[in-house]
Amino acid sequence: MKMKKFKKWIWTIIGVVLSFVLIFMSLAWSRENVSDLMKWHNSKMSPVIMIPGSSATVNRFDSLVKKLNNGKKNPHSLLKVKVTNDDKLHFTGQIRQGDNEPIIVVGFENNHDGYSNIKQQARRFNIAFKALSNEYKFNNFKAIGHSNGGLIYTAFLEKYYSQYSSRIEIKKLMTIGSPYNFNEKSVHHKTQMLSDFIDDRKKLPSNLDVYVVAGTETYNSDGLVPLGSVMAGKYIYQGRVKHYTTVSVSGSDAQHSDLPQNNQIIDLINRYILDSEQQNMRNNRNTPNLNRK
């Protein structure tokens, strides 16, 4: 009987000690977690993340960024991330301290065309995106994809984005000359990719602004991608996202590969994708750590 009582006491003491350990450990965890979340929530950074098209490297947007920064007092810094075939990330360039709107380019060692490659590139983009969001703790970003880059973004948004959607908002997406239906001119012949994209369109974020830009060298093509294939984007995005706008650009530099350097498109990016500097200033004046939604 005495033994039994003794045993009971031992168990009670162990229980109490364990409870205290758990209470204090979870308190520490909670404090850390919440302060992490606060950083996220109050982060002012809103990067522009760009994905180049097939056969292009992370240097694809160099001249675009140069043109964007032309005459700006606070130029956007440029960070390039290359994902190699072993899923490792290689960084070049860096984000300047205090730059709230850096440009990040994510490219892939395997930059080949084709649906299976695009799916793989979307998976690799997700790896890079996860690392970037953990490192810089931004709570919103803007997206630009040139050519297949726009397809990678679409695949990413439909397949991977939901795990971030509660804390990272994608505000705007611009795809430039993205062949949503590959080389098919007509949507009567839907490629496997397009029908997959349409099937999963429900998973697209509903508060997103989408700009689909097409280059037109002739009346129905930018020299490489048929206009009908770019315009097929409406079957994926229209009516599903908040705004869906298509723009077709002609004139000089309207050929598919020249599109990222096209002055009209740079103007569109300045106007529709980037936060205007005035707005930045106004927000900064009102509150020091405002959540910029």
Binding site: I23, W29, S30, V34, N42
Partner: protein
Amino acid sequence: MDRLLRITTKVYSSKIMRIIQDTLKMMFPIMLLGSFAEVIKICFLTPTGFMASIFKITDWLPYYRGIAWVMVVTFHCTIDMMALYGAFGMAHFTAKMYGEKTSIAGAVGLMAFLIISFQPTDTGIPNFNSRLMSQGMLFSLFVGYFCGRVTAALVNPKKDELFQMIKPVSVVIVFSAITNVLLGFMGKLDAPTYVASFVTQHTQSNALLYVLGMGVLTNFLSWIAFGGPFVNSPTFNDAPSLANLNAALKAGSSWNVPFKFTDTTLYHSFADFGGTGVILALIIAILIFSKKQNNRSVSKWSIFPAIFNSHYSMMLGIPILFNPIFLIPFIFAPLINMSIAALLLSIRWIPAAAYPVPSGTPGPLIAFIGTNGNWLALILGIILIALDVMIYMPFVKLADRTSEEAGNEDEEI
């Protein structure tokens, strides 16, 4: 109390109740170990789990993926397919009660339930409906009972003919196929999102009543082995939780959140200690007050899973399922907890639980972490548990008396 005792004794002496009891007893050891696997997987070996978060287990434990995989398999094939075992056991014991050819009846029940739960899915490839498998135990008991009766009725145990089994099997196949098609027509109601939209669209007092009502419904449905609206653990992805989290992060504390009364702030934070129906309190009550050896050892074994909010072993082992004695505290203890918490929330003694909580957080710690370490919320959790132990106490004593009166006749399997 005496009337409750009489009702219980009467219910327990009915044939169908004895069959259910036998089925639950058969399932108990399997589900007990299954719940161990569930807890180890979800709390210890998933990076977002409670123990894994606070002790960073997944960072230092070697081979954790391998161990986690074994746990996933165990959990998936036991608790996640609970209804399957229910169908087997129910058919087996029904046939045993009414006839003799029992082993085939179990197989028939299994087959019927497999046929019924094989449903088309969103991906286009049909698969066994996981919801039906894990939460459709009540339904599977019906199916099993039906199969057992059909087998017992159509098979003559005196004749040893292989082919007389054809008759019950074909009857059951036809019925299950029809049920399968009927179930396919019924739409899936997505309860959690429905709750979330209700909370955001109505006034605070309406939302409070609604959450309390849904809590009662969840507990009642668990008692009859049927998944309720709040069975899913809090996801923090529904609209009111997100709005609360955003408001809390903006203000730096969770005192002024827009939605004070949600399933997260009330039900999951204060009414779910140890799983549905504040099972943790029942375990403590049994360990203190009960003299029945069977219940005591079930409770001891259930401590570990119940600390991390897995209640299956208690539901089956005591059993709580279909047990009239425990219905009242099983519904009222959580209701009282939620009401007290709502009262303290509205007079601003405690802030609302708005911050994310890792899965498998022990009951009283949920509100503590959810409020980012509000000590009053922790103390409230402990007081509520003590209160719930008091609520359960008379019923535990009553349960001891029932088994005395029933004469322990149904102790063996």
